[in-house]
Each structure stands twice: as structure tokens, then as C-alpha cells.
Symmetry: C2
Amino acid sequence: MPDTVLNERALKLLKTLVQRYIRDGQPVGSRTLSRESALEVSPATIRNIMADLEELGLVSSPHTSAGRVPTAAGLRVFVDTLVTVKPLQKKIAAEIANGLSETGESSQALVTTASKLLSQVTHLAGVVTVPRRTHGQLRQIEFLQLSDNRVLAIIVVNAREVQNRILKLDRSYTESELRQAANYLTDQFAGNDVSDVRSKLLGELKQARESMNEMMLNAISMAQRAFEKGETEDDFVMAGKTNLLDFAELSSVDTLRQLFEVFNRKRDILHLLDQCTKAEGVQIFIGKESGYEPLDECSVVTAPYTVDDEVVGVLGVIGPTRMAYERVIPIVDVTAKLLGQALKMP
Amino acid sequence: MPDTVLNERALKLLKTLVQRYIRDGQPVGSRTLSRESALEVSPATIRNIMADLEELGLVSSPHTSAGRVPTAAGLRVFVDTLVTVKPLQKKIAAEIANGLSETGESSQALVTTASKLLSQVTHLAGVVTVPRRTHGQLRQIEFLQLSDNRVLAIIVVNAREVQNRILKLDRSYTESELRQAANYLTDQFAGNDVSDVRSKLLGELKQARESMNEMMLNAISMAQRAFEKGETEDDFVMAGKTNLLDFAELSSVDTLRQLFEVFNRKRDILHLLDQCTKAEGVQIFIGKESGYEPLDECSVVTAPYTVDDEVVGVLGVIGPTRMAYERVIPIVDVTAKLLGQALKMP
DNA sequence: ATTAGCACTCTCCCGTGGAGACTGCCAATG
DNA sequence: CATTGGCAGTCTCCACGGGAGAGTGCTAAT
């Protein structure tokens, strides 16, 4: 036994073991390891070290006479301290940058593109949460009469987002009533932070119920309805689920079934992604660390993306625990940065 | 050999064979068939008849000593002449009706719900094309200034559909210019069939280029841009892909991969669905009849749905060839009718 | 501490040999 | 002459077993 159990040599071996395992997904034997690692040691020595690593819970053997496979803990050590992030290929960086710049206006489209790019470049499943701009500036409110009692509210935020919402009202309004209401509201609230608008509306309504004329009251109550449930349900997009079919270790139909089910339910995944807004920079969940049973055999690599220094969403990829972290990490990293930039542009 | 080769008894046997095969997906032997069918004949007789049916290409045996399995041709005969459609369970009809009536306003939402209902009720994959109303009445056009040179066009059709489109223009317009343009266009074209508007715009522009004032010219050219590319890309929705994972015969990971890929590409499927708008009533494609290799082991059951006697879209389900046609056919049928009704409502 | 050698273990891949399920054919039957 | 019972033949499925290959753990030597 060496001075400290996890000495440099052991770590170097762990690193090559993980790299090899990631490459072809099979247990790595001592002979292979002795050839692969630059270290000049015999297989026998490696076997000893492996026994140590196994005791520490960093590797394990599927059965007596197979090589070793890194455990989740082993992978964690790898990504935390051993991984040497490959410099991003220019070609790939360009692919992402182009993809995003070629995409048109709406932030929804940008998010979808980002997700597709991630999946395309990493050959994993890409996920991106829809940006939730807590500090957007309300630009304009407009109402259109659709039919009796039904009014279309259009809310423009930040010169980019456009939200439609159909309101059913208790009576019908004339066109000029609607125009007046819209003008009043736009005058009153344009430039306000959109997260404040709702509470201000409530305050306004309560504070001055009697001092206002009917028109204003109507306008405010309509606006309230329009701002209700501001979150849309479609709050993240995902591309490349089929890439997961490529990996042998996920290919039991049952595992796949579970996986696809989770992606359909969305909520669980979203919760997981939400946690990532707190940290900054790339974050990695390996296996059970995600806390969701169906993802036990998956890793998730995420990074928050920002607009004007404010975190507005998270993106990342989901794949088997044996994904190519060295490649994936920088990809997720720059995609987050580029998406942030793309969203900022006018 | 009987009078005519495909006599009544042979057909009855084919029917029970198909039913049995659909039920549990395994080859059916002569003994089973003799018990199952109400016919009082011995297995030996049945073996003779089976030999005949095999010669006709309606059944086949996977190997010498397995029972018989219906071929695609056999299934075709079954659905064309033998199937006795089960009366739709009230519970299911109610489920669909409720599901649709509880869904809110937008036709997009209705379509998604319909797709989900189909998949939920049949345990297959549900598909619905987005309604393409060729004869919708234009109700209103509105323009909103977003930022310099960027204008949001809002087109209201039929008191239900709302389309947004962002236009990049060569100069910026004042609010009143936009309002005038919108008013002019709404006056001019409201009530027109939306499919005519574009051509009328063109005509108007050409015919009277000099006689118009600049405002009108601007209005018309803006409107033209707004009506370009009227089709959205997201032209059908699909729910319940995961249901396909349930069926043993589709569960080779490779088959599944192909299948999911097809659903992602969308275009091929859409083409297939488009063909179904021509026929009326329920239409069935068995195996290769669909013409798409990845669907070789699948059947597609579709029905067009109508609004005001005009076919506006197609819905249906996709599943393995051995799907429960007797149950699925009426479900697809009523869903089409109910969706049509739901879309018609104000 | 490292290494070579060796016995041991476990998987994977065949080939083998019933057991079970049907068929196809033939001869008997009404 | 259609139908039936009987019977041999065929094919799958599964369990068993043995040999090859890979890799380990232990021990004794360096």
C-alpha cells in the first residue's frame, strides 16, 4: 500500500480506465490498462491497485473474471478532478454559432434550434428550458375583439416576446372601448418590469376602486386576466431522444420505455433542470445523483444561460453515464454562452 | 376442395384466426381453431382448409410446425369483408367527447387533445393533422410596432385562428400609419375567403399601382408579406409514441429506432396522411400498403374530419399490423366526427 | 514495492437431446 | 367424396454441459 491510498498513479490509472470505458463501453482488464496507460507497470501491479480502487468504491467488476468498470463515484472523481476538457473544435463551435444566427426571430425558435444543435453535435438528447425573463420590459398591450365576449389579448415584452391569450368576458366591448383600455394600460405600464405588472394591477384595483371610471376598471380587470398564468405549459424542449436508442446499455426496451415516459411527463425533468439555475457554469449529475429513478443509468450535463447577467434558463444534454464528458462539457458550455448572446440581440 | 375455394366456412375460419392472432399475437394452430370457431369440424379438416388459404396467400406459417399467421393480404380481407365492428362503448365515446369539450379555444389545442385521446383510448400512437381551412373568413388584420423596422402582424381568421408573424421592413412606421394600414386592409378584405386574399392583394397591387396613395401601397405590401408562407411547419401532432414500445413485434431496438426517426422527420408521414383526405370515411393501410418501409410492420387507420362539409384534416392511429381493428375503427370514426364538431363551435 | 506464474472463476458460445406443438399425409368412415 | 382419426415427421424452445477465452487473486520470487 502506498503512502496515501489515492496516489497519483492510482488516479492516472482511474483516468485511463474511465476514458477507455467511455470509448467502448466494456470492462477494462489489467492487461489493457497496462498497455494503454503511459505508466510502465505490469498487469499484476495494476491488479493490486484495482483492488484498492474497488475497495474505495470507485470501480467494480461485473463478475469475477471481467475487467473493471467505473462506478458512479468513480465517474464523479473523473469529472471533478481528472477530466482534461478537450478544446472545442472550431468546426463545432462554428456549427453552433451558425445554427443560432441563422434562426429567426422568436426566442421559442432559438430554444428549439439550440436543443437540436446540442443533440446533433453530441449525439445525445438535448434539452433547453424556455427562457423565463423575470425582468422583461412590458412594451405594449393590445386587445382585439374576436367574437361576442371573446377578446384576444396581445402582450409584447422586450421587443421580442409576443404572447397571445384569449379571454372570455362577461359582456362584449366595442372596438373603441378596447382601444381605450389598451392605450390606458400601455401608457400606464409600458416600461415596467413584467414581473411587477401583475402585483401593480392588483394594487391599482384595490387602492382606487371608487376613484376610477368604469373604463379603467374594465381595462384593469381584463389585463389581470391576460396576465394570469403567465407561464406556458411548454416549458422546455428536447431534441434527439432517438439518439438514446444508440447506446447498448440503455437498450432494454423496458428501460427505454421508462425513459421516454419521463420525457413525456416533462415535469420531473423540469424540476431537475430548475435546480441547475442556481449554480453557475457547467454542472454534472451522474446516475442516481439526479434523484430520478428512470435516469439512474443516465448522466445530465447542464449549464445555465444568461441574458444581461441574469440567468434566464438552463440547457444541457442527457445521455448514458458513459458519455464523452471531455467533449460534451465544452459543448454545453459554449452553447449556453451563445444562446445567451443570441437571445440578447435585438 | 369445395365448390368455390373461398367458401363461407373458410372465411369464417379466417376470421377467427385473425381475431385470435390479434388477441395474443401468436400463430394459431388447427386444434385451437377447431375449438374457437363455432364450426363443428375436426382439426384435420381445418388443416386442409388452412392449406388452401395458404395457397391463396392469406395465411402463412412461420415454420413447419407452428400454427398459421394471417398475411397482409389476409388482414386486408379481414378488414374489408369480415370485420364486425364492435359498437363503441359509451364510456369511451363519452371520454372523447368530454376531452374535446373540456379543451379550450385554439384549434391547435383541440388537435393536440384529439391526438392524446386517440392514443389513450386505443393504446396506439395517435396522429392528427392540423386543420387547414382553405375556406376561412378573414376577420381582421392588425399591426404592432415592435422595434425599429420590425412589425408584428396579427391575422384573425374565422373568429378562432390567430396567426402572428413578424415582418422586417425597410423603414420604420409610425403608430398611426400602421393603424391606418390595418384599418384599410380590414375594411377591404374582411369577410373574404382567406385563400383568395393573397391573390387579390397581388391583383390590387398590380392593377392600380399609380392610382393609390403611398399608405395603401405600404399596407398592401406589408399584408403580402404577412400572408406569405401561410403554412406553419408544425403541421401534425402525434401522441403516444411510447405505446408502440408495448408491442413485442416492434420491439427490436432497431425497428423502433427507424420508427421514431420517421415520426421525427414528419414529412413522410404527412404525405401519407394527405392522401387520406381524398377518401371519405375510415381508411386502412396494412403493412407495406402505406408505401413507407419503416411502416412495413405497422398499420395505419385514418379518417378525414370535416367542418361545414369541407375536409380540413385527417386523424388516425398508427400501430402494429395486429391491432384490434374491431375496436379501433369505430374509435377513429367518431373521433373524426367529434373533432369536426368541436372545431365548428364558435 | 513490483513482478511472474498459476490455479481458479465466470461468461460466452456451441452442440446435443428431449419435450411440446403442429403439420401433412394416408387410410378409414359415413 | 368430404370428413375424420391416427401417425410419423419437423421445427422450436429450453435446459444442460463442456470447451475456449479473458481476467482475476494469490503466492512466491526478485
